[in-house]
């Protein structure tokens, strides 16, 4: 009950339009309206003003592109003249078409949003927390962060994503490299430098299929070329000397053809059974294989329909709206709540067991204090609080600042904070905190874990919203 009051109190106030924050934002955006990609929380890079999206590490995408371009370049330079003369002019034509197709598919796969789910707004996150707390499943702490639903008469577990603060839709997975939840997550492909998900799976598939054709085609042509040449000059070594590029192509194609053909075959099987690599590896539906033909609730039980649905289905739009402008009246995730609201909130917070959500809310509130310069922000990394850390900012009266809970938040994210006037901590609470979460290496002189007892529960999994 009290917790609900706290939610009501913080959320609307912190997030509704208040004169100071409106002015703040108006001031900020008076210079230039910002696009949403500029404040995107995931680890992605954007180019061309948000039109092109890439994972943070481009992986080996330059290598992939380089290999393809070099191999084709050598093909056109060394093999084509000979083969055009001796066979047919269509050889470079086919090669050219395949090459263009491969490169376009590759670039589309790399630069397309794979189906990233935008993170939950703070209101949504609070609402979900409320539902978890009040539902019957959380009779013990920590509350299980899974939800079971029925899909086509089959039980599927939805997991709660701590980073995105929402229950992941079915078939969605969180990619740690990109730090995003991706719909119909297949895998993160380093060759392509991006995740492969709902929106770019068809591009990925056409990339590997066309690459298999291209590799096989070049391989075949090079073999033919070398064979014809060695027949003409009656010596293999001489043939190779005349066309050294062919050997390079041969080596590249030989080594890549196995993996690419294997990958194509594997993905053809996945497409036909409407599975993702993720599901296949985890064996999500394989235990049911014995009972029915396919335990996969998403399969249409027909190979043709599965293929059509995956490859030719409607193209969903990008949900992250990269090029949209940030609305002026909505706060960017780091709201600056006015100071006046905090004392009553803090008073209520006394002696309550804070759940994780309240901690998140407190974290936001506390960071708003940072912006007001009450405590030095320090570096945004988890560091142990030690005696060496001292609060250099002027400490306002102990009653107005939020207590232990917020300092604990500081401990998670920032170095500093604890202000000397707060050291009313009791050793008992320190010990309890020690035992709950050893990650908080709190030294005794550090402050105030005084009033609030925090149950950290599944703390290691906490994903705090990274602050700008």
């Amino acid at each position: 009950m009290m917790k609900n009051c706290e939610y009501q109190q913080i959320d609307p106030r912190a997030l509704s339009v208040s004169p100071s924050s409106a002015q703040n934002h108006a001031g900020k955006s008076a210079q230039r309206p910002r696009r949403k990609w500029e404040v995107f929380p995931g680890k992605n890079r954007f180019f061309c003003d948000g039109r092109i999206i890439l994972a943070r590490q481009s992986g080996v995408l330059p290598l992939t592109l380089g290999l393809i371009v070099v191999t084709c370049g050598l093909f056109f330079a060394f093999d084509c003249p000979f083969l055009v003369e001796h066979l047919t002019v269509f050889i470079p034509v086919i090669g050219g078409v395949l090459f263009v197709f491969v490169v376009i598919s590759l670039l589309r796969t790399s630069f397309t949003d794979p189906g990233i789910l935008p993170r939950a707004t703070p209101d949504e996150a609070a609402d979900i927390e409320k539902q978890i707390d009040t539902s019957g499943s959380s009779t013990y702490r920590p509350p299980p962060r899974t939800k079971e639903i029925l899909i086509n008469q089959q039980v599927v577990k939805l997991k709660y994503c701590f980073t995105c603060k929402t229950f992941r839709p079915p078939r969605t997975s969180h990619c740690s490299l990109c730090d995003n939840c991706v719909e119909r997550f297949d895998h993160h492909c380093p060759w392509v430098g991006n995740c492969v998900g709902k929106r770019n799976y068809r591009f990925f598939y056409s990339f590997i299929i066309s690459l298999s054709f291209l590799t096989s085609f070049i391989f075949g042509c090079v073999i033919t070329h070398i064979t014809l040449r060695s027949q003409a000059s009656k010596s293999l070594v001489q043939a190779i000397q005349e066309s050294p590029g062919s050997v390079v192509e041969l080596v590249i194609c030989f080594f890549s053809i196995w993996s690419i053909l294997g990958l194509s075959g594997f993905h053809t099987y996945l497409v036909a059974s409407n599975l993702t690599t993720n599901e296949d590896i985890k064996g999500s539906w394989s235990s049911k294989r014995a009972a029915e033909e396919s335990g996969n609730p998403y399969s249409y039980n027909s190979i043709i329909t599965n293929c059509c649905a995956t490859l030719c289905g409607p193209m969903p739009p990008s949900l992250i709206d990269r090029r949209g402008f940030l609305p002026l009246d909505e706060p960017i995730p780091a709201p600056s709540a006015s100071e006046m609201e905090l004392p009553p909130f803090v008073a209520k917070n006394d002696a309550h067991m804070c759940t994780q959500s309240t901690k998140d809310v407190l974290e936001r509130v506390v960071h708003s204090f940072d912006f007001h310069g009450l405590c030095p922000p320090g570096t945004p990394k988890t560091s142990p609080l030690g005696p060496e850390v001292s609060c250099t900012a002027a400490a306002p009266s102990p009653q107005t600042l939020p207590s232990a809970s917020s300092s604990l938040q500081h401990a998670r994210q920032l170095v500093p904070a604890p202000c000397p006037p707060f050291s009313r901590s009791s050793k008992k609470e320190m010990d309890s905190l020690h035992s709950i979460n050893p990650a908080f290496r709190l030294a005794s002189p550090s402050p105030s874990l005084s009033r609030t007892t925090l149950i950290l529960g599944d703390a290691p999994d906490l994903g705090f919203i990274p602050l700008p």
Binding site: I104, L117, P314, P317, D321
Partner: protein, 143 residues
């Protein structure tokens, strides 16, 4: 988005009393459908039938967007053959339906929800996760 343009005044004048989130309904798979369960917070403001009607219409529109029919297959094959460059000049079927949905929501807001102090947010602005209904405080709002 455009739908809240005319309602922005209301938003600035009235304080938000609560926000209700209609979650997705996954019983039919990953297609975009929303739960038609009527949230209790809105009982005082709007008729249950009316609301369920709105959600059902939205569900039908989303189903139409994601329908696997001949049109989507033709579009898919054409896209594949042109190496997906056709999307640079043409709007996909899904996007067309999304525009229809945006118009429908704006119309519903203007006619039905705004007079009752409610505001529907287009789900696409929330990543198709929820339909967010903002309940404004009951001051005498006249429209």
């Amino acid at each position: 988005m455009a739908e809240t343009h005319s309602l922005q005044d209301m938003r600035q004048q009235a304080a938000v009393a609560a926000k209700v989130f209609i979650q997705r309904d996954y019983t039919n798979g990953t297609v975009c459908q929303f739960q038609t369960k009527f949230p209790s917070e809105m009982e005082t403001r709007i008729d249950k039938q009316q609301f369920e009607e709105t959600v059902r219409t939205l569900n039908n529109l989303y189903a139409e967007a994601e329908k696997l029919g001949s049109q989507s297959y033709i579009e898919g094959c054409l896209a594949c053959l042109t190496a997906y460059t056709v999307f640079l000049c043409m709007e996909t079927h899904y996007e067309k339906v999304l525009k229809k949905i945006a118009k429908y929501i704006q119309e519903q807001n203007d006619k039905i929800y705004a007079p009752r102090g409610l505001l529907l947010t287009d789900p696409i602005e929330r990543g198709l996760r929820v339909i967010e209904v903002t309940i404004f405080e009951d001051r005498s709002l006249t429209r």
